[in-house]
């Protein structure tokens, strides 16, 4: 157990630039083999959201290609396969509380999209 003493530094990774984002829609980034769906909603606060790209119901990496909107006040993306909605802030599935995807912390700094690990 030699690693336990090692300090864990908060780390951020630059995923892409603001111009790579598509307003009111999603794109996909890859970090260490993991797929992350990034959504850019210019009129919301915050403006960028990140959740896992894997659709646990449709079983494919497609959430970044879903349509964004709000349901009952929650910002969501609808899976393009079977239309379940996932909360952009928490990753929870609105239709099935047994299912969720990861939610990531992202921010927009100096026109760069940063992911906090």
């Amino acid at each position: 157990m030699t690693n336990t003493q090692q300090a864990i530094e908060p780390q951020t990774i630059t995923l892409c630039g603001l111009s790579d984002l598509i307003p009111n829609s999603g794109i996909c980034a890859e970090v260490d083999g993991q797929q992350i769906a990034l959504f850019y909603l210019p009129s919301e606060t915050p403006q960028v959201y990140a959740i896992g790209n894997w659709d646990p119901i449709g079983k494919a990496h497609v959430l970044s290609r879903g349509m964004v909107g709000d349901i009952g006040g929650k910002l969501v993306v609808a899976s393009p396969l079977y239309k379940q909605h996932f909360d952009l802030l928490t990753g929870e599935c609105l239709e099935n509380d047994q299912v969720s995807v990861s939610a990531f912390s992202v921010s927009l700094v100096d026109d760069q999209v940063l992911l906090s690990l």
Binding site: L15, I27, R65, A78
Partner: protein
């Protein structure tokens, strides 16, 4: 001509003018208004501090009066009335002769007789000018006090709070809104208002207002109980008093406590003088709400014509939002009637209070109080106004709903005389008549009767009645598309067209709530495309498209796409067939011939789509719109060119039709076919529109369907020449695009169309609605602005950015796995996929 002079141009005075102009009575109308501006909406006065401008509140303009032929003078008060000579004289000395005089002078704010009430920062709240003074006094100040905890006082407190001042309400009585609420309701209202940061002081009698010597604030109020309150400004809003001085001076009968006495016809003690609105006293009461004022105006106008309408007093039930808190009061809120029984429900977790007052025998509703939740108001009001028998357990009317036992008052239970919209005096009978006359949708009923276009309080009830009536007529009940729009697709289409709306943002801002969803966005996107035919991937439309429309391909179960190039009429050259094979081989695509005489290429990764299309376009292909709610294919047989039985060139017609309607966005996909003879090899009678050749031309069939619920198409017209055939199809398709519901195929649309085939034939063939030319123009516009979306896309590097698998790497999705079967790739099953991934890891 009859000379009518109207003194006062508030909401009621203006309503009188409007009603008189709209009537058949010939009159020269002179309006004399004391304020410098024409009538405005005083009810929503406090909104001037939350973004609305005085212009927004205006109910008319000088120009509008001029157009109506009304002579109007503003900023001049009437000083005296000479009843003998029938002349009024204004303060500026102008004289106006009248045959009939209407006093709509309104009321003025009551200022308690307290020493110091005339200091500079002591104001009243009644007019737009008052607001200007309040704003000026509030500048750079911190604290504002409103004297008066009634309806007007709380409205005023909202205004003061909107100015950013620390807000206090000082009330003489022990509770807020003592007239409309019982103690429990009043206490709940106080709780909610205090939670909003407004400080409430009840049972406070102000004795004196003094200038503050310590300089921190400008004023100090001293109360009878010894307490005091420091403030920068005081606004009196403690009730109103009728403006009846003119009437007193000329000897008209006035009430003991003020108010010009009037009869059922709103006539004063002088039969040539009427009084309406808050200056009038009827049955010993002043009616300080706008709706009764309007009824008085209508009664007074009717006296100048042939049909006499009586003012019968008015119900003072009210529902409003005070400082954002829903408050409703109906009838006898205090349970004053002997033997009455009260039911009370209170939930302090969510700060909701509801109380019912019921007659001794438990059968009739006498009154109600609602604080924090007014959703039951409409229903309760109907029980009250119409004397409807209560259910056996009246408490269920205010208890939170339990599944399956919602005690909604069926719209069917209401009598035809029940007033639904009190702003515009629309009864249930009026709504039913409008529907009898063919105005069946909610939007149409609103437009026709004006119901629910005032305060909007009856929206839910109106919808219930319309739904109920529609169900009774066997029509499908229109329901809202989603939580963001209370529209059907047809209504949305209408709104977008009429208001020339060009983007979803504009649409939702004007007519919706929230941000939209995967139901309303694509619907709006489709309508915008049907109407204006912009490139679907223009920046403002991108977020509206389903993934299939966004990537111009059809997503399959593993996240890859299928590609379907257009092969019009199913006719393809060998060279093009070869290109399809080459592209499929190069990108390892699975190929299959579709039922629509096309070739479908499956398994394309998102990042390969542009390259695939570049090669296809190079070879002369266009997008097939298999991804869109649009025309798919026009299937054809070989026709007279090859076939021994063919009588017309079905392939040429199919090519023409497919090229004409390709790209047209519609409520759902639609298909067509052309057969060269009655043997019908192209199966045209199972298509949305089918064309079958005859010796003399073409027979047109409409609204057929294969698939899940087959429907044999209806024969629509026979032996048409080419030009007429296309004209009818243009009209038919555009009428479908306009009127169908979301995701409604033509077959279902036809089954729901009132009047059915015969009606459709009238609209299209006989142009019974007179919209034939418009429909054709709209179609021509779509045809003229057609573009191959794939061609536009691959020419734009910005658009191509979206077809990257990853924004931050060139890698491909390694978890998409194919296996081979019958010589072609297919997606691995989940089990196979896991095995293969485990092996490679």
């Amino acid at each position: 001509m009859l000379k009518v002079v109207v003194v006062g141009n508030g909401m009621v005075g203006h309503h009188y003018v409007e009603q008189l102009v709209a009537s058949e009575i010939e009159a020269h109308i002179t309006v004399i208004g004391g304020e410098t501006r024409p009538a405005y909406d005083r009810v929503h006065l406090s909104e001037v501090f939350s973004g609305r401008t005085p212009e927004d509140l205006a109910m008319t303009t000088r120009d509008h009066y001029r157009e109506l032929g009304v002579e109007a003078h503003f900023g001049d008060f009437v000083a005296s009335i000479d009843r003998d000579n029938k002349i009024v004289t204004t303060e500026s000395g102008k004289e106006y002769a009248y045959d009939k005089l209407v006093l709509a002078t309104g009321s003025y704010p009551f200022v308690p007789p307290v020493k110091g009430n005339d200091l500079e920062p002591c104001l009243v709240y009644r007019t737009i000018d008052d607001l200007g003074m309040i704003q000026a006094q509030a500048k750079d100040r911190k604290i504002g006090v409103v004297v008066g905890g009634g309806l007007l006082g709380l409205e005023c407190a909202n205004a003061v709070k909107n100015l950013g001042l620390e807000t206090h309400v000082v009330e003489f009585a022990p509770g807020l809104m003592g007239v409309q609420l019982d103690n429990g309701g009043s206490a709940m209202l106080r709780r909610k208002i205090e939670a909003l940061g407004v400080q409430v002081h009840t049972s406070k009698a102000t004795q004196v207002i003094e200038e503050n010597s310590d300089g921190d604030t400008r004023l100090v109020m001293q109360f009878a109980d010894g307490g005091s309150l420091a403030t920068d400004m005081i606004v009196f809003s403690a009730g109103i008093r009728p403006y009846d001085q003119l009437a007193r001076d000329c000897g008209l009968t006035v009430g003991e406590r003020g108010g010009i006495e009037v009869d059922y016809h709103c006539k004063t003690s002088d039969s040539d003088i009427f009084a309406i609105g808050e200056c009038a006293l009827f049955g010993g009461r002043i009616f300080g709400l706008v709706a009764p004022g309007y009824r008085m105006a209508e009664a007074a106008v009717s006296q100048l014509g042939n049909d006499s309408v009586a003012f019968q007093g008015a119900d003072m039930s009210t529902k409003l939002k005070l400082l954002g808190v829903d408050v409703g009061s109906i009838g006898d809120a205090h349970g004053k009637e002997e033997g009455s029984v009260a039911y009370t429900f209170s939930d302090e977790r969510i700060d909701v209070y509801k109380r019912l007052i019921v007659s001794a025998d438990g059968k009739k509703l006498l009154g109600a109080v609602l604080v924090g939740d007014c959703s039951d108001y409409d229903t309760l009001l109907q029980y009250f106004l119409n004397g409807i028998d209560l259910p056996a357990d009246p408490q269920t009317l205010i208890l939170p709903y339990n599944a399956g036992e919602a005690p909604a008052l069926g719209a069917a239970a209401l009598p035809a005389t029940a007033t639904i919209c009190s702003c515009h005096n629309v009864s249930k009978g009026d709504i039913v008549s409008a529907m009898d006359a063919g105005f069946c949708s909610l939007a149409e009923v609103k437009a026709e009767t004006a119901a629910s276009t005032g305060c909007g309080g009856c929206t839910a009830l109106l919808k219930n009645i319309v739904d109920d009536e529609m169900a009774a007529r066997g029509l499908e009940v229109n329901t809202a598309m989603c939580e963001h729009f209370n529209f059907t697709r047809q209504e949305m289409f209408h709104v977008i067209k009429v208001e020339s709306i060009k983007s979803f943002e504009e649409l939702i801002e004007k007519h919706g709530t929230g941000r939209g969803c995967d139901i309303c966005k694509p619907t709006a996107g489709s309508i915008l495309a049907s109407l204006w035919n912009d490139y679907v991937l223009e920046d403002k439309h991108v977020g509206l498209q389903d993934t299939n429309d966004t990537f111009l391909a059809n997503m399959q179960k593993n996240g890859t796409y299928s590609v379907v190039p257009r092969i019009p009429g199913g006719e393809i050259t060998p060279d093009k067939l070869i290109v399809l094979g080459q592209v499929a081989k190069k990108y390892q695509l699975y190929t299959k011939i579709t039922g629509a005489q096309r070739v479908d290429l499956f398994g394309a990764r998102v990042q390969h789509l542009p390259a695939i299309w570049e090669e296809l376009i190079e070879a002369g292909f266009e997008t097939g719109h298999a991804y869109g709610k649009a025309l798919r294919t026009v299937k054809s047989c070989v026709g007279s060119t090859w076939c021994r039985y063919g009588v017309q060139d079905s392939v040429a017609m199919a090519l023409y039709v497919e090229n004409r309607y390709k790209g047209l966005r519609s409520p759902h996909k639609f298909k067509s076919a052309v057969s060269g003879c009655t043997r019908e090899c192209a199966e045209a009678q199972s298509k949305d529109f089918g064309i079958i050749a005859t010796e003399n031309g073409w027979n047109l069939f409409v609204c057929g369907n294969g698939g899940m619920k087959p429907r044999h198409a209806d024969l629509f017209a026979t032996d048409l020449d080419d030009e007429t055939l296309i004209k009818y199809i243009d009209r038919f398709l555009m009428f479908y695009v306009r009127t169908a519901d979301r995701l409604q195929r033509t077959s279902v649309w036809m089954d729901n169309l009132e009047g059915g085939l015969e009606y459709l034939q009238k609209v299209v063939i006989e142009d019974s609605l007179g919209i034939g030319a418009e429909l054709e123009d709209q179609m021509n516009n779509i045809v003229d602005t057609y573009q191959c979306e794939w061609k536009t896309t691959i020419e734009d590097p910005e658009k191509l950015k979206r077809f990257r698998q990853f924004v931050n790497s060139e890698a491909e999705d390694r978890e998409i796995i194919f296996v081979e079967e019958r010589g072609q790739p297919r997606p691995a099953t989940e089990e196979e996929r896991q095995q293969i991934l485990a092996k490679s890891a």
